[in-house]
């Protein structure tokens, strides 16, 4: 009955159509092999080229001028006789790194390294001389600049440790809540936010990643480490390079998938790895790879409208895939094998973690009821939590595993995470934190040769304008400038 359903013409047509689209998409969308002419030069290599004098300031200026949308000549502010325009900031951003620092790293640097008692070590000698023209006291220059920037951006001098959040005074909490404005703080609001995030993550299944990707995001378990060795072993038999003496029985007659399916009942791995329900999966697997794809996708709870996207994501994850070797029906074989292995291993992971089967609808139902667990897991495996919360989350996952068995602890931890996110210590919500705006302006001002007294003469809006230019000059924009500069360089050399 089920076999017939998966062999229905509609399902097969849908799968066939999705696979035919993959043939067209794979050659241009393979992340492993981007076309050579589109590959951006890594920024560290581009900067190394500048340090080795392969690229000079003149070529950078030419490149900036050749990209009119950057408005390199626009003046941002005037300080006495000194004018700061966009190109000065662009040049700094091209040559030096102005990434924000996590607050914990900044605190560590302030405690362990003399970043506030000396000028930045990567300053060019001319800029250093310019800064030290009036005074020889580096320490007062650096600490003065830091103090001015803190004052301008309304930040406090004293740093607060992350773990202070575990023991908040009511006054402090009220002050921060006022700063947070309309941020949700009540437990129910947190749950509502988590529900929206869960829905957003769920929507990405079949467009951005597979169910394995969802598992990775929520448990840190990379299923590919289990599936890929087996897939490699099997797929190597279908590749052009056959170096094994013993061919897979009948694979040249019935195809790779059918031959593999016939070997599956003899594979003790399914038993030894204690994969749940493997007997049932074997019994229900259709003989045809296209029908198997339809069957497995249905069993995983993927809606038919998402099948093409899901198969696309899956194809991109195939190990060592070469588009000239994997086309048409062969691709169906590989995907059918991969999807079957996926389901077997996903079932095991989902059973161990949440006592549910690997099915999108089941997971949806589970996490709708356990949103605190979702919130904790999502933030933990994104790696965005501070150490004290990471430790608590890991301990809770080891101890409880699921929110079902210890709901209060999970809810408490979810609230702690929400509190961390809203607090001024977390840089992600606060644009003008020390690790972000203050630190970046601190470096930028030094590279622009601005002394504390000059910066003191600037309005807060002027500083924010400098920062906005720095933010707007993002990776793609910088890559474009480097590429143009290298083109100028090589046209000059060849000319």
């Amino acid at each position: 009955m089920r076999d017939k359903a998966f062999n229905s013409p509609d399902s097969i047509a849908l799968i066939t159509h999705a696979l035919s689209q993959l043939d067209a998409l794979l050659p241009v969308q393979m992340p492993q092999q981007p076309p050579a002419d589109r590959t951006p030069l890594p920024e560290n290599l581009a900067r190394a080229g500048y340090r080795q004098d392969r690229i000079n300031d003149h070529e950078l200026n030419l490149a900036l001028a050749s990209l009119p949308y950057l408005q390199a000549g626009q003046t941002l502010c005037t300080l006495g006789q000194q004018t700061i325009n966009r190109s000065a900031i662009y040049r700094c951003a091209l040559k030096f790194d102005f990434s924000p620092l996590p607050i914990s790293q900044l605190q560590w640097l302030m405690a362990e390294q003399p970043i506030l008692s000396q000028l930045q070590t990567d300053l060019p000698p001319t800029v250093r001389q310019q800064l030290l023209a009036d005074t020889s006291d580096e320490a007062s220059l650096a600490s003065g600049l830091w103090a001015v920037l803190l004052d301008k951006l309304g930040q406090e001098q004293d740093g607060l440790h992350c773990e202070a959040l575990l023991d908040l005074a009511p006054e402090q909490a009220e002050q921060w809540l006022m700063q947070a404005g309309s941020q949700p703080v009540a437990h129910e609001d947190t749950q509502l936010q988590a529900r929206l995030q869960w829905q957003a993550l769920l929507d990405k299944v079949g467009t951005d990643f597979t169910l394995g990707g969802l598992l990775l995001a929520l448990s840190g378990i990379d299923m590919l480490t289990s599936v890929n060795p087996q897939l490699n072993r099997i797929c190597a038999y279908g590749m052009a390079t056959k170096i094994a003496a013993w061919p897979m029985p009948f694979s040249d007659q019935v195809g790779l998938y059918a031959a593999w399916r016939a070997t599956l009942p003899y594979d003790a791995n399914l038993f030894l790895h204690e994969l749940p329900g493997w007997q049932q999966v074997l019994l229900e697997m259709p003989d045809d790879p296209l029908a198997t794809l339809a069957y497995q996708l249905t069993e995983l709870g993927i809606a038919p409208s998402r099948w093409p996207g899901y198969l696309h994501c899956l194809a991109l994850e195939l190990p060592a895939i070469h588009t000239d070797q994997v086309t048409g029906p062969d691709l169906a074989d590989y995907l059918a094998i991969r999807l079957t292995l996926d389901r077997l291993w996903l079932n095991q992971a989902c059973r161990d973690l949440w006592k549910v089967e690997a099915n999108l609808n089941t997971l949806h139902a589970y996490f709708n009821k356990n949103l605190s667990e979702f919130m904790v897991r999502q933030h933990l495996y994104q790696g965005s939590l501070p150490e004290y919360l990471t430790h608590k989350a890991e301990a809770l996952i080891i101890r409880s595993g699921s929110e079902r068995s210890n709901r209060e602890d999970w809810q408490q931890l979810a609230d702690l995470i929400q509190t961390w996110q809203i607090s001024p210590i977390a840089q992600c919500q606060m644009t003008h934190s020390k690790g972000n705006s203050v630190w970046r302006l601190f470096r930028l001002c030094q590279h622009l040769g601005l002394t504390p007294s000059l910066v003191d003469g600037l309005a807060r809006e002027d500083l924010l304008a400098l920062l906005a230019v720095l933010d707007g000059f993002d990776d793609p924009a910088r890559n474009a400038v480097w590429q143009a500069a290298y083109q100028h360089h090589y046209s000059k050399v060849s000319g």
Partner: protein, 521 residues
């Protein structure tokens, strides 16, 4: 002449120290000193190779006495451990082959343009590995051999886990390391037995005193060292570690290491002569490994994996030769085989060679296998390596891992609570949600009962009915029993379930049985 033997491990050790100290102290910039590191490593391994070859020639001409002692390292009562080396015979020849191969590895690595930034680390490990493996082979006492084994094991761990950013590399490194450590247990017990029964840990003394050992004692000592040799030479059931170690920064290193197991057999050969049972074990395991590797090799689609199984299979044949008492053939086989396999590894690593080389056609399937070539069970067994690793995982690794989880749970839930943990000094608030509940007007108790919500007539009726039932439950059931009773009963239920789950696990039953036996006896 004998003193040359000291330089064979000492020169690479000095090179490792120079590279290591320079790297850790920041004296040399990694990129700027890439060539210097390579030159130091190649120079040290090259000189070590020259010393080994000179010593071999000296041995061939009969110019060596066979033994060189630097002095005593540790002495206590009858225990006398010296820093001493063997300067003649098979160990010297094997050391010369190893030294030549390690120099070739270093030379090839120095010409690899992609070695780049990781060069410092690579050449440090290469030199340390060279020093360790030469110590293992040339040491005249078992403690030196053990030290060489341990350091080379660590080097193998670092080399296999060279690309430590990938989970596969770290996983492989752990498995290789654990396999080596299991072998170390056998070696340690063997050394202890030698000391207990012979009051000595020198290889030469062991060879001379075999007649002092009874057949049982000889068998005990032999089996302990056999256990170590099985682990080191990737014999069953340790075979998979060699294939796991091949995707390393230096594929020749596991091949070299695996041949050191043959050296152990050679040192023990007078004892093996006393123990037919140990030789039978050697022969059976050797034959089984050779068969196992031959069958698995037929389904390998990766060149390096194929090399690994071919190496383990040939090592199995060497064990068979040992069992038959063909010690000289075994020694020659070992030297020639390690040379061949390492050159194949170097060729596999040479990217230019690999891309230029024509496709090697698959060898024909052996006639023995041809009869069952189309049997799915036979093919699957070969493809999956007879499930050796999954079986070990299932029988040993998984229970240990689960027990570790249980202990972790016990630690956090029982021990930590008993010991106590610091609480915040004031503990006013930990979350904004608490603040919201405590200080805001819209706290939980103030909100309307959100137990059920409905729209329309039917919905409102259902909502009222649900609210009524909830009120009834709240007033007459929950409050009647006490506000915390249901919560505690639920907790007790979970605890009981957990206890039941734990108690029915086989490992705890085995543990209880073990404890019972311990108490009884």
């Amino acid at each position: 002449m004998d003193a040359l033997v000291l330089l064979i491990p000492f020169l690479p050790l000095c090179a490792a120290l120079i590279i290591g100290v320079a790297a850790s102290s920041g004296l040399l910039d990694e990129k700027a000193s890439a060539h210097l590191n390579a030159d130091i490593a190649i120079g040290a391994t090259g000189l070590s190779c020259l010393m080994a070859l000179a010593l071999s020639v000296g041995d061939w001409l009969g110019k060596t006495s066979g033994y060189f002692s630097v002095g005593q390292w540790l002495g206590s009562d009858t225990l006398d451990i010296r820093i001493n080396f063997i300067s003649s015979g098979f160990p010297v020849w094997l050391a010369a082959v190893f030294a030549l191969l390690l120099w070739l590895v270093g030379w090839q690595a120095s010409h690899d343009p992609q070695r780049g930034a990781g060069g410092q680390r690579f050449f440090f490990i290469l030199c340390l590995f060279a020093a360790a493996i030469q110590t293992l082979v040339l040491s005249a006492n078992m403690i030196g051999t053990l030290a060489g084994w341990q350091i080379s094991g660590w080097c193998a761990y670092l080399l296999v886990g060279y690309a430590y950013g990938t989970p596969a590399a770290t996983g492989n490194a752990c498995r290789v390391f654990i396999a080596q450590q299991i072998g170390t247990i056998g070696l340690l017990i063997g050394i202890s037995l030698c000391y207990i029964w012979l009051d000595n840990v020198n290889w030469a003394r062991l060879a001379l005193a075999t007649e002092d050992l009874g057949i049982g004692q000889a068998t005990g000592v032999s089996l302990c060292f056999t256990w170590a040799a099985f682990a080191l030479s990737a014999q069953l059931p340790f075979t998979p570690w060699l294939a796991r170690a091949m995707p390393t920064a230096m594929p020749a290193s596991p091949v070299i290491m695996s041949h050191a197991g043959i050296y152990l057999l050679w040192q023990l050969h007078p004892v093996f002569e006393q123990s037919p049972f140990a030789r039978a074990v050697l022969g059976i395991v050797g034959v089984l490994t050779a068969l196992y590797c031959s069958i698995i090799g037929l389904t390998q689609t990766d060149y390096k994996n194929g090399l690994a199984y071919a190496t383990a299979g040939q090592l199995g044949l060497m064990f068979l030769e040992a069992a038959l008492g063909w010690w000289q053939i075994m020694a020659g086989h070992c030297c020639l085989h390690v040379l061949l396999r390492c050159l194949q590894c170097l060729r596999a690593d040479d990217k230019a060679q690999r891309t230029a080389a024509p496709q090697i056609p698959a060898p024909p399937i052996p006639s023995v296998i041809a009869g069952i070539g189309n049997r799915y069970w036979a093919f699957t067994s070969s493809l999956q390596g007879f499930w050796l690793e999954p079986i070990i995982d299932w029988a040993l690794v998984n229970p240990v891992r689960k027990m570790a989880q249980d202990l972790c749970y016990f630690d956090s839930q029982i021990i930590d609570r008993l010991m106590g943990s610091p609480e915040p000094a004031i503990r006013t608030l930990a979350t904004f949600a608490q603040h919201d509940e405590t200080f805001s007007e819209t706290n939980y108790s103030g909100t309307p009962n959100g137990f059920a919500l409905g729209n329309g007539l039917a919905g409102k009726l259902a909502q009222w009915a649900a609210t009524l039932m909830h009120g009834f439950e709240d007033r007459f059931v929950t409050r009647g029993l006490g506000s915390g009773s249901i919560h505690w009963l639920r907790k007790m239920g979970y605890a009981a379930n957990r206890f039941e789950l734990v108690i029915i696990r086989p490992r705890y039953l085995v543990l209880f049985v073990g404890i019972t036996f311990l108490v009884a006896f």
